[in-house]
Symmetry: C2
Subunit: 205 residues, 2 copies
């Protein structure tokens, strides 16, 4: 059987991600990653020079997927309606539907996992996490600015922190979902964000 180096690399990264979400980066050893991935030490160090390098590449991959997920979901919402408010509501509803389908508590967010051990990481990694979070702020805030042009809010509201609230709800709901071992927390909380946006911006029938 020919070995596929990309498959091995992916296997190591997936094993490391699972372990880090359960044990934290500081509580995860290279030996544990090797054992879980079912690869040799040689294979590990062929792909990654150190645990630190693995940690960096892992969060880079996570951030790329996260940004892509954000963009794709917003694109999809924009295709489904011409009205910025409806686009925003659909955007939140798409995430809610996705989270509603979970059978187990959400496994957690790598950004939050790293931030809870922030002193173990260098500034490059902290900056990457910061920029990834700011992408959410920028995209959602831009949409909110389109919304208010035609839908004045019922109550004075700060658009930047209202944009941040989506990520706040994801992050906070992940923590509660894990702590309470309840799978539906994230979907329920996104439903509240959806209702809040409706109450703020929707005209009364």
């Amino acid at each position: 059987m020919k070995k596929d180096p990309t498959a091995t690399r992916t296997k190591i990264m997936n094993a490391a991600k699972t372990l880090i979400l359960d044990n934290g980066f500081g509580g995860t050893t290279v030996d544990a990653v090797i054992e879980r991935a079912g690869v040799s030490k040689g294979a590990f160090f062929h792909h990654f020079s150190s645990k630190a390098e693995l940690g960096h590449i892992l969060v880079k991959r996570y951030a790329e997927n996260d940004a892509q997920h954000l963009d794709e979901t917003l694109d999809k919402a924009e295709e489904l309606s011409d009205d910025p408010l409806q686009q925003l509501l659909i955007f939140v509803k798409l995430f809610e539907q996705e989270m509603r389908s979970l059978e187990d508590p959400f496994p957690g967010c790598l950004y939050a996992s790293y931030i809870h051990q922030s002193e173990l990481f260098d500034d490059r990694i902290k900056e990457l996490i910061r920029e990834s979070m700011l992408k959410w702020r920028i995209r959602v805030k831009a949409k909110l600015e389109e919304v208010v042009e035609n839908h004045p809010p019922k109550q004075e509201v700060d658009l930047e922190s209202l944009a941040d609230m989506l990520l706040v709800i994801f992050e906070g709901a992940f923590v509660l979902s894990q702590s309470l071992k309840e799978a539906k927390t994230v979907a329920q909380q996104l439903a509240h964000y959806h209702t809040y946006l409706q109450l703020l911006f929707e005209e009364k029938g």
Copy 2:
């Protein structure tokens, strides 16, 4: 100078808390705690049999303070108004004011720190965190049930997850506040929860 054993114990616990919030439990060694607290190894092991025991006592103290803070803030709000809705709004506003006064990002929540390394802790600790979080749900939900008796919500809403939303916002805002190095995040997000409650329950003037 006479040694005060309680002071030493508190010094160790405070040093450990700070280190755990920065490095995680897995990334915090007994040696680092000793160094930060400025105590001897002997003093440490006089007070705590192990790092695991320290971790348990630390989260127990944290949970006691957290429950007391919740109760006191709710008592205060209940003294300031007779109307359940106003009590609830004041309750949220009191937390918002407290968080508004922060000059630095909130240092973080020990529950979330532990949950992000949950496999390092035994079931007793996970159960303690679960029960602490459920206290918030129970207290806030009971207040919401009083609210809806006289203030029917403008839109159908699930009271249990609406109660959870307060803790979700705290936890999520702590993560963003830390990641973005912004001190006002928690206050801003609590302000949105306040506005959401107003839009849901307040009669239009």
